[in-house]
């Protein structure tokens, strides 16, 4: 492998990263959120992901923040700055927060011993008594001291804070704003002590280009919120909800917002009810959604087969977490691909799509709603914990025009056949209330009228119809993201898209061009398009976060991959890093 030169490293410093850790309740997450928001207001883009233990309260919490002058889609493999409000359970984060010899660690002498990795990494440790400093300020809190330290170290002007505090602490009153402001200022002063010895270890942010104030409007949004917004934009007006980590926030955002736009959310008694409520609402004509995670999707599968057979559009968002069973509820994985595509009994083809970034959760969910309505099919949206719960400051995504438009029956003309074999496979759907068009939606094999039958001809006709309407539809360029033209191609999906993009960028800096192909449409497969996209490639690197290499096996089932194929796969919870993909590209020559 090429050893990067100092210049190369400087060129790579397009981002600065900060991890703030502490016991639950110490305020690490608040500090992280404020840091991202202030940096975003100053023109940076950034990403925050929180990592917490399985405990509901207490335990440990870490805010992982990465800032850049460009879009940030994944966490770095090493953090530039690690601030420990205390180190009580910091060892539990293990490999999730990696540091190196160039990292700077801020430790409170009263916060316990830093975990052994700090010494092993050879990182520079500076002690700052955050707890004592906070005590000296009426109502002062150590996490705000930490925030001031971080603000100074990343090179944020001290003037950024007051407006933010006034906005965020409005309900806590002027005293709280005052106290936080004083603590942040104290943090700035204390952080100057880190500057001793000069070097670019501090003021890391100053190594970044000054952010340009762009004319584009900026958003601070999580993937779960973006998916929910995309669903409403696509036409969804009904949701059924049964809480499950990491999908709950999506449903919690929908509850008040669906009501605002004239829709409704029902809390279901379980996921069996949630999916059936969704089907019922959609049968009545309301584009409908439910969101869940793996265990809930498992419970919904039977009814998804019903929606497929009865041709009822529904959107199901699965925010994937570690499985099987209860697995690792708070961590990300991409291992629900198999159940999403193949879970139903019988031959039950339905749409499966996957967003590729926090911002893309909006587009993909809106697109999924549109596809479900247009094709009268269930659509499963495979998001994941990383995208769903991380929050990013991004440029406002461009408006898209996908709005669900169901082919509806008219009340004129001849006798109505709900499941008539029509060109393209989609037949007009009558809605209750429409006179003369009454039919019974049925999960039993049915004739064109919807009447139950066990005749082989009817069975095959309807199976063909439901297959053809999906396979004959033109999904356009949205089926995948295709970038670059190297003869090595990284083929991936979901939230690893951004990680792969970053790795390919690094390879380009090292003089190696690679192609990125990230699939957004997982089912139905698009063999011709994939053949065209990978035409002439000599090496295919499949990258995915699943222990069983589910995506690789899926690719093998539906596509003829050219050249030599390798797989970089791993189960959660440790995300595949850009450095690993970069290394795999560079070493495969």
């Amino acid at each position: 492998m090429l050893a990067p030169t100092k210049e190369a490293r400087m060129r790579h410093r397009q981002s600065v990263s900060v991890a703030i850790v502490g016991s639950g309740g110490a305020g690490a997450l608040t500090a992280g959120n404020f840091l991202l928001e202030a940096a975003s207001a100053a023109g940076w883009q950034g990403l925050i992901s929180r990592t917490v233990g399985p405990q509901i309260r207490g335990g440990e919490a870490a805010a992982l923040v990465r800032l850049s002058t460009r879009a940030v889609e994944c966490m770095p493999e090493r953090f530039d700055i690690l601030i420990g409000l205390d180190w009580a359970n910091a060892h539990r984060f293990g490999a999730e927060i990696e540091i190196g010899p160039e990292s700077l660690v801020i430790s409170d002498p009263r916060g316990g011993e830093p975990p052994p990795v700090v010494a092993t990494a050879g990182a520079r440790v500076v002690e700052i008594p955050m707890k004592d400093m906070a005590k000296a300020i009426p109502e002062g809190r150590p996490n705000m001291i930490a925030l001031g330290i971080a603000g100074h170290l990343v090179g944020l002007g001290a003037d950024t804070w007051l407006a933010l505090l006034e906005k965020r602490l409005a309900d806590k009153g002027a005293d709280a704003v005052e106290a936080s402001w004083a603590a942040i200022e104290a943090g700035y002063h204390a952080a100057m002590s880190c500057d001793a010895g000069g070097e670019s270890r501090t003021g890391l942010g100053r190594n970044l280009a000054t952010p340009k104030r762009s004319a584009a409007r900026r958003w601070l949004i999580s993937g779960n919120e973006a998916a929910a917004l995309g669903a409403i934009r696509g036409g969804v007006r009904f949701a059924a909800a049964y809480p499950i980590t990491p999908a709950t926030e999506l449903l919690e955002w929908l509850a008040p917002n669906l009501a605002k736009v004239g829709g409704a959310l029902l809390q279901a008694e379980d996921e069996l009810a949630a999916i059936n409520m969704t089907i019922g609402a959609s049968f009545g004509g309301a584009p409908a959604l439910t969101a869940t995670s793996g265990p809930g999707l498992s419970l919904m599968i039977e009814a998804l087969g019903l929606a497929t057979a009865a041709e009822i559009p529904v959107v199901v968002i699965d925010v994937m977490r570690g499985g099987p069973s209860t697995g690792i509820p708070t961590k990300s994985e991409q291992a629900d691909l198999n159940i999403a595509i193949y879970g139903c009994h019988g031959d039950a083809p339905h749409l499966v799509v996957a967003p590729q970034s926090i911002g893309d959760c909006l587009f993909t969910t809106q697109w999924a709603t549109y596809l479900a309505e247009t094709l009268q099919s269930p659509a499963i949206v495979l998001s994941d914990q990383f995208m769903g719960q991380a929050r990013a400051s991004i440029e406002r995504p461009a408006d898209v025009t996908f709005i669900g438009q169901r082919l509806q029956a008219t009340d004129t003309g001849e006798a109505y056949m709900r499941y008539a074999i029509a060109a393209g496979g989609v037949s007009p759907m009558a809605l209750p209330g429409m006179p003369g068009r009454q039919y019974t939606a049925d999960g039993l094999t049915h004739t064109v009228h919807g009447t139950p039958t066990s005749n082989e001809r009817d069975h095959n006709m309807q199976l063909d119809k439901r297959r053809d309407k999906l396979t004959q539809f033109n999904y356009g360029d949205h089926w995948a993201t295709h970038q670059g033209d190297g003869d090595i191609a990284v083929v991936t999906w979901g939230s690893l898209t951004g990680t792969a993009r970053e790795a390919i960028g690094r390879a380009a800096n090292d003089g190696v061009e690679a192609t990125l192909l990230a699939l957004r449409l997982l089912y139905p497969a698009q063999p011709e398009r994939l053949v065209a996209a990978l035409d002439g490639k000599k090496r295919i690197l499949v990258v995915e976060q699943s222990h069983g290499a589910q995506f690789y096996r899926y690719l093998r089932a539906y596509y003829d991959l050219p050249g030599e194929v390798r797989v970089l796969n791993r189960a959660g919870p440790l995300p595949i890093r850009a450095a690993e993909i970069h290394r795999a590209i560079m070493e495969w020559r």
């Binding site: 958003w219 605002k260 736009v261 409704a264 049968f283 409908a288």
Partner: protein, 278 residues
Amino acid sequence: MSVVDMRLARKPADYKSDIKPVWCPGCGDYHVLLSFTRAFAELGVPPENIVVVSGIGCSSRIPAYTNCYGFHGVHGRSLALAAGLKVMRPELKVVVASGDGDGYSIGGNHFLHACRRNIDMTYVVMDNHIYGMTKGQPSPTTEPEFDTALSPGGTGLRPFHPLVIALASGANFVARCFSGEPNETASILVEAINHPGFSFIEILSPCVTFRPDEREWKNLVHPASVATTNDPAKAARRLMTDDGFNTGILYRGERKPYQPPVGRPQVDVSELERDFEL
């Protein structure tokens, strides 16, 4: 100018489809279908404004035999499906049909929560104390000593009491009928459908094939000797102590139905993104 009441023009036959039922000759469910069509005709609601939702079982075949909109879903989940439908289309009349296996066993949890949710719909369970469709296994209402292939010598388990459970869970209208009395059943159905909130009707409907003994039911049923009450405690005590063949409206509550205000947007969709703007 004289006002013609169009409702008078509706006949039970207008609510019947031309699909021939798969039921065994003599099955109690034929009479339930008859009471459905009579009740709908008496209500005068156009068939396109009624939706009959069901699960799986002989009894759950009923939607397609009516000329209304229907949904024959999966086993046990009809109440949930109907809840989503009714909430988004409150102007429709929603009638849910089920069997004792579908409604009390696999769908038991949804039964509790539908009562509690009190959405304006009518839930009809055709109780034959057996799983008819799967050929004679015991259901939650089968007598403990009833012998089946799956429970040789009987289950030994106490049957549960759907009406008391409905009451305890918050149903707003509780009645018991006998399928062999389609006129009485039809008029109770009319009252149930007109009553706001969640109405529950248990219809004793014999399975002549797997429970030939149930042909006797016609001699056992009798109208309740007491007037309908709006006091749930009184209704529960009566139900716990009656012989299980008391028919009539046994409880009529006054709880307000649950219905979120749908279809009246307060903001334009384009305004929702404000939450995220920096």
